[in-house]
């Protein structure tokens, strides 16, 4: 029988949750792999199944684990993009949502401008990587993205051809740089397109564009990426549930 190591003033379910979270962080199980059954964990740690369930409930609530009745409980590597795209939608005329294609047109390595350094919480002039790309739906440009990353963590991006990957950057960050995006703050506003954006997006200057600023963080709350995107207002809808 294994002892729980953490502070014994904490409830047992909390301590088991912490223990499991540690093992998951240590990569004891792979993404998609099952952790031991509730009954096994219960006997392993000398707890009742109810207590084990409560610990697992917490990790499921944190979206670290995923239950499947009759099959087991599985490590859930973040499907962060899905959750981002819950909010962030381009609709086809029939209301369906789509993930736009990506067309990277610039990768630069430079010193962070003041605004970017402030957003990312970096010292002024820290080395950063800037990606500029267009997102397209049905060959039509819908979004122009300007993406800033701390160079130190993301330098692997500079030595690969990003066009050989899919349109989503976060899986690339994870695979090539070991950086996992866990949460983000987004701010929306709208403005009239200037000539440059209008040209990029193929719309007439002065027509409305949506501006989305996103600061993405890792599990420790550290800023990983800052991006500012300009999108065509038509077919753009952003949905939020407020409680």
């Amino acid at each position: 029988m294994t002892q729980l190591s953490s502070d014994d003033r904490l409830p047992l379910y909390q301590r088991l949750r912490d223990q499991l979270a540690l093992q998951i962080a240590d990569n004891c199980w792979r993404a998609g792999e099952a952790i031991p059954t509730e009954a096994l964990l219960a006997s392993e740690y000398g707890l009742s199944v109810g207590t084990v369930r409560k610990a697992i409930d917490m990790l499921v609530g944190e979206r670290i684990l995923e239950r499947q009745q009759g099959r087991g409980t599985f490590i859930r590597r973040p499907q962060f993009h899905a959750s981002l795209f819950r909010f962030f939608r381009f609709q086809t005329p029939d209301g369906e949502r789509q993930i736009p294609q990506s067309q990277i047109f610039s990768v630069q390595s430079l010193q962070a401008p003041a605004e970017v350094a402030r957003a990312l919480g970096l010292a002024p002039a820290t080395a950063v990587i800037r990606l500029q790309r267009l997102r397209l739906l049905d060959e039509q440009p819908v979004l122009a993205e300007d993406i800033w990353l701390p160079r130190e963590r993301f330098k692997a991006l500079l030595s690969v051809d990003l066009d050989t990957y899919g349109p989503l950057l976060y899986p690339i960050y994870e695979e090539l740089c070991g950086q996992i995006v866990a949460s983000a703050d987004e701010t929306l506003s709208a403005e009239a397109a200037d000539d440059h954006r209008a040209n990029l997006l193929g719309i007439t200057p002065g027509s409305p564009v949506v501006v989305i600023e996103r600061l993405a963080r890792n599990y420790a709350g550290l800023a990983l990426e800052w991006r500012r995107s300009h999108g065509r207002a038509s077919h753009f809808r952003y949905s939020v549930q407020i409680r």
Copy 2:
């Protein structure tokens, strides 16, 4: 012993949760008041305390109830407007947020247009109330709101002078109609102002406006209000945290 009325294929804790949510939506207890103890609910419905706890856990997770160890479990309904305005912001030039003043210019009683009936989940042509108002900051119009309410629940609004109340409608709904807004879905988009909106908002036609559609619900999830607002894009910012 009271019977749970809902679908008996659902688990008991789910059915008790729904039952309690209904009673809360019906104003059986006031804000800040305690609901019956877990032991009382258990004997009332012939359930074990564990099952009652699971139902209450759900409502606590939904921020409808609040536990206080040793004291009881309480109805929690304070800061909905605060949470709405967390997202929905007009900024002054120095970045401060403000609640705009309200200027109601039309109150009508009519049959719901198809779109409104669909949004509110009403039968076509059900009687509804339509409020139209302007929201102003520093005497400047910033938002034109078009608000639709089911007449049956909100008829008390027709016999009072709404101008004698503050700029927030939800406290009025609660006080005059006993209807409590508990959650909302919002969808944002942007478009170019047509002549009518431009005139209302004091901007030039074709300049960008933000469109906010909100469906507000009570604790039981029933649609209470549908509104579509058009706002000046300048100084408008909408912030969301994504996990």
